[in-house]
Every structure is written in C-alpha cells, then in structure tokens.
C-alpha cells in the first residue's frame, strides 16, 4: 500500500482513485481504438471480439501504398536541419544578449520577443511569396527556413546564460580565453539541460508541424510525414480505415516510442521550456 501523503481525511481517496482512472481510460480510448483497428483485419475494425486475429498486414499495405520511407527521410532531415540551425543561431544571439552591453540591445531583444506572438505559423501568405521569390518553394529548406531563428530558444538560453556566475567568466578572461572559448567552454556546458529541453520541444514541434509544409510543398521529394499522411488519407483509399489508422500510428510511432522511453525527460523538458 502507498503511504497516505495527504494530511486530509482519506474518505474520498477511493473515489478519487477511481475517477482518475476513469478519466485516464477515457483519455486513452481513442488511442486504444486506433491500435485495435490498425492491428486487426478490416472486418474487425469496429467489431471487438476476443477471437479477432491480430495482423500486421495493414502496416504492410500502408507502407506500400505511399512513399512513406521517403516521407520519413524528409521529416528526419527537416527536424535535424531546424534543430541544428536553431541551436547555433540561438546560442550566438543569447550570448550577445546575456553577456554584452551594447547600444540598442533592449530594442533588439524586444524585436526578438515579438516572434513569440507573431509566429511564422500565421504569416503563411507573405512567407509563401518570399519562398517563391527565392526560388525555394517545394524544398525541405523552405519548410525549415522560417523557423531557424527561434525567439523561444534565444529567450530560454539568454535566461540560462544570465545565471552563469560572472566570476567564472572573468576568471577565464584573466587566463586569456577568447570570447569564443568562454562561450564554448563555460556557457554551453553549463546550459546542457536547457539544450536538451529545447531540443525535445523543437523536434516534437517540427515533427508535428503541418499547415506551413502543406502550403509550401507539393512533391514527394520534399513532403514531410504529416503532409504525406494527409495526402495519403485524403486521396481515395476507398476509406479503408484500417490502413489509414495503421499509417497514422506509423507516422507518430517514432515520437511516441521516444516519449515512452524518455518519459521523464520529455515531461521535464516541456515543463522547463514552459516555465521559463
């Protein structure tokens, strides 16, 4: 038995536990339903009997019906590219804000923060024109480019860098370290947990991003998984829900698996990233 931790009367504990579990079941229901449908033949898609034979055929069919390997590759390239660019750019900018006093730094910082409200997500019309102009439309680069400079990342790292004791910085300067060496050997290692938190949030955000890639891509070579899944399930599959559900689970599987394996880090990262 778990020791009671609440000092209050335990009268309602049973009731609370039951309600919590009912809500949890309700929350998992759509997912369990999807799992059932994906792992059983179409005839059992909505018939729940114990003798339904489990099968992987739906996944095989989905995999063969659309260029999913290519979509996986595209999404992988996309999130890697975005994360790498964000980490480099945000580190440099955050370092400038945290450790240098220069004219206009406040104005610049306000301009950065503006992106927390005016996200590229809603500036689709103009950004599409820009990509057209740059001749980048329908490339993986064009999906990622608007997200390379992340106000969120800059803000998060600036706050972290500001907590690094000045003495460390000054000691390194006295020993003749350059600004670059100080950044790489003092600041970056100390901010490691924040980098991990930001990385997890960034990867899951861009893995899931949909509207902008839907607009800016129109070929198999550049489409990420989310758009590929939408193209696959909206073009007439004869509405075979078993296959669509299998494809849906397949596209979310890597994130879901990563989440199940690193649950604690995920939760903490989202927490850390949100609290600021």
């Amino acid at each position: 038995m778990i020791a009671p931790t609440s000092p209050f009367a335990e009268r309602h504990r049973m009731l609370e536990t039951v309600s919590a579990w009912v809500l949890a079941l309700l929350w998992l229901l759509p997912l369990l339903y999807a799992l059932w449908t994906a792992f059983h033949p179409a005839a059992f898609a909505t018939r729940f009997t114990l003798d339904a034979p489990p099968t992987l055929q739906n996944f095989v069919n989905a995999w063969q019906a659309a260029p999913f390997p290519r979509y996986f590759l595209n999404t992988f390239l996309l999130v890697t590219m975005i994360l790498a660019a964000q980490l480099v750019l945000a580190t440099l900018a955050a370092y400038a804000f945290a450790r240098f006093t220069f004219r206009g730094s406040n104005v610049m910082f306000m301009l950065v923060l503006l992106q927390l409200m005016v996200m590229p997500d809603i500036l689709i019309v103009e950004n599409y024109q820009t990509m057209n102009l740059l001749g980048l439309r329908d490339t993986i680069l064009s999906i990622g480019l608007p997200y390379f400079a992340s106000a969120f990342g800059i803000f998060l790292l600036r706050q972290t860098f500001k907590t690094v004791p000045r003495e460390l910085d000054e000691a390194a300067t006295v020993e003749g370290a350059s600004a670059w060496q100080i950044l790489m050997q003092v600041y970056v290692p100390l901010a490691r947990p924040i980098y991990i938190a930001f990385g997890l949030v960034s990867v899951s955000t861009h893995w899931n991003n949909f509207l902008w890639p839907l607009i800016v891509t129109n070929s198999v070579e550049s489409r990420p998984l989310t758009v590929g899944l939408q193209v696959f399930s909206s073009t007439d599959q004869g509405v075979d829900w078993s296959i669509i559900t299998a494809a849906t689970l397949m596209t979310s599987a890597p994130l879901l698996l990563a989440f199940l394996l690193f649950q604690r880090q995920f939760v903490q990262s989202f927490m850390r990233a949100g609290i600021r």
Binding site: T5, S6, P7, F8, A9, R13, T17, S19, A20, W21, L23, A24, W27, P30, Y33, A90, L92, A93, Y95, F100, T101, F102, R103, L111, V112, P120, D121, I124, V125, E126, Y128, L145, P146, F148, A149, D169, N208, F210, L211, I215, L225, T226, L229, Q230, S233, W241, I244, T248, L249, S252, L255, L256, F259, Q263, F266, V267, F270, M271, G274, I275
Partner: protein, 291 residues
C-alpha cells in the same frame, strides 16, 4: 565593458538570427499590412492600390464574420474546460494515487502526437454508422447522428478534440506549480480543520494563479494558431460552420488564390494576437510586482 572592448562582436553574434527573424517574421508582418491595401495581381494585371477596399469587402463578408465568431466560441469553449481538467489531472497525479505513473502517461500522451494524426483517429471515431461513438450511442439506443456533418454539432465535436489534445499539456505546468507549494501549508490547513475542498479553493488555487495566467495566454494563442484538425476533419464545413480564422486565411490564400484579401484577414489575426500580447505584458508586469 573591459572584458571585451569590441562593440562589434555582439552585433556579429546577433546578426545571423536577426537577419532570419526580420526576413520571416518582421518583414512578412509589415508586408501583410502593406499588401492588404492593394488588389491581388492576376495574370498580366499588376496589383493596384485600392485603399481600404479589402477591408470593406471583409465587413460585408459573412464567412469572415462566421470564422471569427467560430474562433471566439472555439476559444471560449475549449480553454476553461481544458484548464479545469488540467488542474484536476495535476492534483490527481501530484497526490500519489495508485499507478500515478500510468495516469500521467495517459493524460500526457495526446500532447506528443501530431495534431494531424490525432485528427485522423478522431475522424474515424466520429464516422457515422461505423465509428466507435456511433456504436456506443447505438448500443445505448440513441438515434444515429452525423457529428461532423451537422452545423449544430461540428464545432463542439472539434472542441472535444482540442481539449483532449491540450489538457495533458497544461497539466504539466500545474504539476510543476503544485510541487512548489510547501506541504507545510496543507498540514497547517488540516490542523485548522479545513476540508480538502477548502484547502484547494483557499490555498492551492490562488497560489496557482500565475500558472493559470501563463496557461491561459498560451491556450489563447493556440486557439488562433492551430487549424490542422480543421484541414483533416471538416475543411471548415459544413457550410463554414467549423471554419476558424486561420483556416479561412488558408482557404482564401491558397484555394481561391486571393492573396491581398488573405493579407487583410491576416491583419485582423495579427491585431487579435497583438491584443493578447498587450494583456500578457500587463499581466506579467503585475505578476513581477507580486514576487
């Protein structure tokens, strides 16, 4: 600054990020405003200055008003419910109920999944005759209902999806805040004979207020920013009954290819987000006074 006398260095560090920010956030925001005063170039016809014509069109456009109203109802319908559920979940998970690890996992999982995948699953869930919901209501002897095909219920059906997706995300923030509350407070309240209910409303809830404000702002932004599920589940239909502002912008900009009218619509969305930002900064200011 004697550590680094160069005043060029910070600008060098800043410039790559700044260039991209300006190119894909500041410039498009201003260009949107600028282009909203012009007509859409068509074929050989270049864009001409039309002043407020696009806005006049907007005022007379019933679809715009419907999308805006839908969006407000969507925010009003999802946010309080999602926040209430998030608090409940956080209280339960925080309380070391049996199997709290599994509970937390169950609540949080929808957050990790792509909205588009989630939308596909729910689309199936809502399918008339065939879907799980119909089977349940059918077993209970209720009449069949096309939840996504009926203008009366479509927005509500989409709200359920949004609440399901977001509550677990908000729970995380409440969980973090609850863990900051000293257990001494609960003991003191219990000694004074307070009930659990009183302890929540008099102690925990007020202490969670900063978190609630933070979550509220985020939820508001999300309500205007996320339309993935609309694309997958309803395409704004039936009869625009589930169109949200950003979805309408997408439709006007990339289905009707009327980029200047889409720009005018985007200006409205930007103004709304600006309003939220204003409230946010005022609220956050007050919050720092508190601490």
């Amino acid at each position: 600054m004697k550590r680094l006398p160069s005043s060029v260095l910070p600008w060098l560090l800043l410039s790559p990020a700044m260039v991209l920010l300006i190119a894909f956030t500041h410039y498009p925001a201003l260009a949107t405003l600028w282009h909203s005063f012009f007509s859409t170039p068509k074929g050989a016809r270049p864009a001409v200055f039309v002043g407020l014509e696009n806005y006049r069109l907007m005022v007379d456009d019933p679809v715009f008003w419907q999308a805006l109203c839908n969006n407000l109802w969507f925010a009003l319908g999802t946010i309080p419910l999602a926040i209430a559920l998030a608090i409940l979940m956080a209280l339960w998970v925080n309380e070391k109920l049996a199997g709290r690890g599994v509970l937390r996992l169950a609540y949080f999982t929808p957050t990790v999944l792509p909205m588009i995948a989630v939308a596909n699953i729910w689309l199936f869930f809502y399918t008339p005759q065939y879907g799980l919901l119909e089977q349940i209501t059918g077993a209970l002897g209720l009449p069949s209902h096309n939840w996504l095909g009926n203008p009366q219920t479509v927005l509500g059906a989409l709200m359920v999806v949004a609440v399901w997706k977001e509550a677990g995300f908000f729970m995380i923030f409440y969980l973090a805040a609850l863990q900051q509350i000293s257990p001494v407070l609960a003991e003191a309240a219990a000694l004074e004979g307070a009930s659990r209910w009183q302890y929540f409303w008099r102690v925990q809830f007020p202490l969670l207020m900063p978190t609630t404000l933070f979550v509220l702002i985020n939820a508001l932004i999300n309500a205007f920013r996320l339309v993935d599920h609309i694309v997958v589940m309803t395409k704004g239909g039936p009869d625009n009954a589930s169109s949200l502002l950003l979805y309408y912008i997408y439709e006007v900009g990339f289905a009707f290819w009327d980029s200047s009218y889409a720009a005018a619509l985007t200006v409205v969305l930007l103004a709304l987000l600006g309003l939220i930002a204003l409230v946010k900064f005022r609220v956050l200011d007050r919050r720092t006074h508190y601490q």
